[in-house]
């Protein structure tokens, strides 16, 4: 398999509302930032791939406007997934593996501020049997949290500790939306309190991928992608064991995450209870530094939050804070779909 690395990462400051900016205005500085870190221009990039959602933007083909921010002239080789940017990164990684391109630009963005994201996300549920009931994302996460508590896997105190740790860690993250501890507050949907839920906000992120020697030219310490895989579970919550994540575990296994221990993990767990599920499924012991960025509990730009996890893990490798990191992204209700990437700092030994 061809050696491919993340050589640069950039993100916006994630904010409650970016109403003064259009999607492309929010995205452009991030694209300039990530390209600037490598000295590349749009025309140097072999493949571009993005992730976003029309339902957040409130209009069809919303990604076409974002393309203006890339500057696709002369024409570029480009694709788009209606998924979190983590999956756009996956598509770009595969393109580089085929050898057809040596560099790739990946970006994603999401503005949750224009509407009620809790309600918007109900539209991704089974349209015949579930969506008509409008069960919102917090209510579904609360079912999962209660299942964990009933199974003796966690309690409200432990969940509060996850919230406090995440937001304390976010004090060192200038891009985070919630920096510093917050009160746990009242129940939003029992047993989840305000503190157990992610902030609603807007943001964008971008990374540059490069293969082989090109990566070494562009970055002093590339974050080599040792493996990446993603898996999906049944949609109906009633047929799933919500206290476990077999899809995350299988993705991690296929990505090679269990071959050697990681020192760092960035988990896309928008709710405190989901970190409990993921830590166990991904076999992360207490020695692993989890979500040093503050994670999705400190900033959760929908459609970009997964890519931010991969970017944060890569950045930890870039600055020498990690030698082997696991990055995770999720999509769908209660962790239905999961992606795992394993990143390493050392040169690849064949």
């Amino acid at each position: 398999m061809r050696d491919v690395a993340i050589v640069a990462f950039a993100q916006t400051d994630h904010v409650r509302s970016s109403e003064a900016l259009s999607e492309v205005e929010m995205l452009m500085p991030v694209l300039h930032d990530v390209l600037g870190r490598t000295g590349l221009r749009t025309g140097d990039i072999g493949f571009t791939c993005s992730g976003s959602s029309d339902y957040l933007a409130g209009r069809a083909f919303s990604f076409t406007m974002a393309l203006d921010g890339v500057g696709a002239w002369p024409p570029i080789a480009e694709s788009h997934v209606e998924m979190d940017g983590a999956w756009a990164l996956y598509e770009a990684w595969v393109e580089l593996l085929t050898g057809e391109a040596d560099t790739a630009l990946v970006y994603s963005y999401g503005k949750s501020s224009p509407g009620s994201v809790r309600d918007v996300l109900t539209r991704q549920l089974d349209p015949y049997y579930l969506a008509p009931l409008w069960p919102d994302s917090v209510a579904l996460a609360a079912l999962q949290a209660q299942a964990l508590i009933d199974a003796g896997e966690t309690d409200e105190q432990a969940l509060a500790a996850i919230a406090a740790r995440s937001r304390t860690d976010a004090e060192d993250n200038p891009h985070a939306q919630l920096r510093g501890p917050r009160p746990q507050g009242d129940y939003v949907v029992r047993p989840l309190r305000t503190g157990d839920c992610p902030p609603v906000g807007d943001g964008a992120a971008a990374v540059v991928l490069a293969a082989g020697d090109r990566a070494r030219e562009l970055c002093e310490r590339p974050a080599w992608i040792r493996g990446m895989d993603h898996r999906i579970e049944p949609h109906a919550l009633g047929v799933r064991d919500l206290t476990d994540s077999p899809s995350a575990r299988l993705a991690a296994e296929r990505a090679g995450a269990f071959e050697r221990p990681v020192d760092t993990a960035e988990l896309h767990a928008p709710f405190t209870s989901q970190e409990v599920v993921l830590r166990r499924a991904l076999r992360l012991g207490d020695s692993v530094r989890v979500n040093a960025s503050g994670g999705a509990l400190a900033a959760n730009p929908v459609m970009a939050a997964g890519l931010v996890r991969i970017g944060e893990a890569a950045a930890a490798v870039h600055r020498g804070a990690s030698h082997r990191a696991l990055a995770h992204a999720t999509s769908g209700p209660c962790l239905q779909q999961n992606l795992v990437a394993v990143l390493e700092g050392e040169p690849h030994v064949r």
Binding site: F61, W73, A77, Y90, Q124, R231
Partner: protein
Amino acid sequence: MSAREPVAVVGVGQTKHVAARRDVSIAGLVREAARRALDDAGLGWADVDAVVIGKAPDFFEGVMMPELYLADALGAVGKPMLRVHTAGSVGGSTALVAANLVAARVHRTVLTLAFEKQSESNAMWGLSLPIPFQQPLLAGAGGFFAPHVRAYMRRSGAPDTVGSLVAYKDRRNALKNPYAHLHEHDITLEKVQSSPMLWDPIRYSETCPSSDGACAMVLTDRAGASRAPHPPAWVHGGAMRSEPTLFAGKDFVSPQAGKDCAADVYRRAGIADPRREIDAVEMYVPFSWYEPMWLENLGFAAEGEGWKLTESGVTELDGDLPVNPSGGVLSTNPIGASGMIRFAEAALQVRGLAGAHQVDGARKALGHAYGGGSQFFSMWLVGSEPPAT
């Protein structure tokens, strides 16, 4: 570094495209196409390593990221599932993303599928963006593309009748394709030419229908192809290109991204003279005049000369360069699936499995899709023989 793994199309499945499939859910629709593709490939659900699905805007059915809900219906549980969305070109792009998974040796056998169930909403108004995104001047895609057709007519000096010839041909070809949406047994050229004017110069009969339908393909590696019960189609080259919707100097009649995409595909496939070397073309023609326009954009005719191929019958089913033997988008348009139907019909031609609309002796065929404001392009060239490695 080893070369790319050759990619073979060993299964193709479509639903019978119609205006409204009220008898099935969205899940039922996609499963029907997927099951037929697996049957063609002689495979079961367990033989599939990954699923790549595509469709146009989620607003067309009113389901956000429907792949989450379709995971069970497509046998994707426990497997990777990717969802592509690149506007009208999405069916083609989805197939290319799936092909890359095999080419990169990430997976051996991939199910790829695209669909649209347009009866769930109103596509024309779904495509008409609200204020503040667009001025309230356009109604549907036809309103956007009609001025560019007019520009082509003026630039090329083509006679007014060329568009009707394309529509008459494609609707007659559709009569030979059991899966096509429109089966107009009483079609005549006079009927096309006297149909109501919708977006001048585009008449009602020169416009694509609004369809419910799905198309699926099974892609696999050399080992998989050797076990296939029917002849495979081999992918000789594929590419995507994009350019912005609007900018000073954009050529809407023959966009640069389309030219670049075709050139890239021909380079990968070793095609020097597309007009002579390609035996059949399935191109994305949602409005009749796009046949002569794309003939030029894709290098089958010199600039301003495309309409002459249409007028002289070259693009007829028994012509020298048959275009849209399936009846094309003009006869069947489940938007998100339309690009994949082009790719799949090209594969059927080189497999020799196109039935009554088979082009005799087709060995190389081009599948073409475009989308957005003539800005997203995806194409592949398939052949009856494995690519030279």
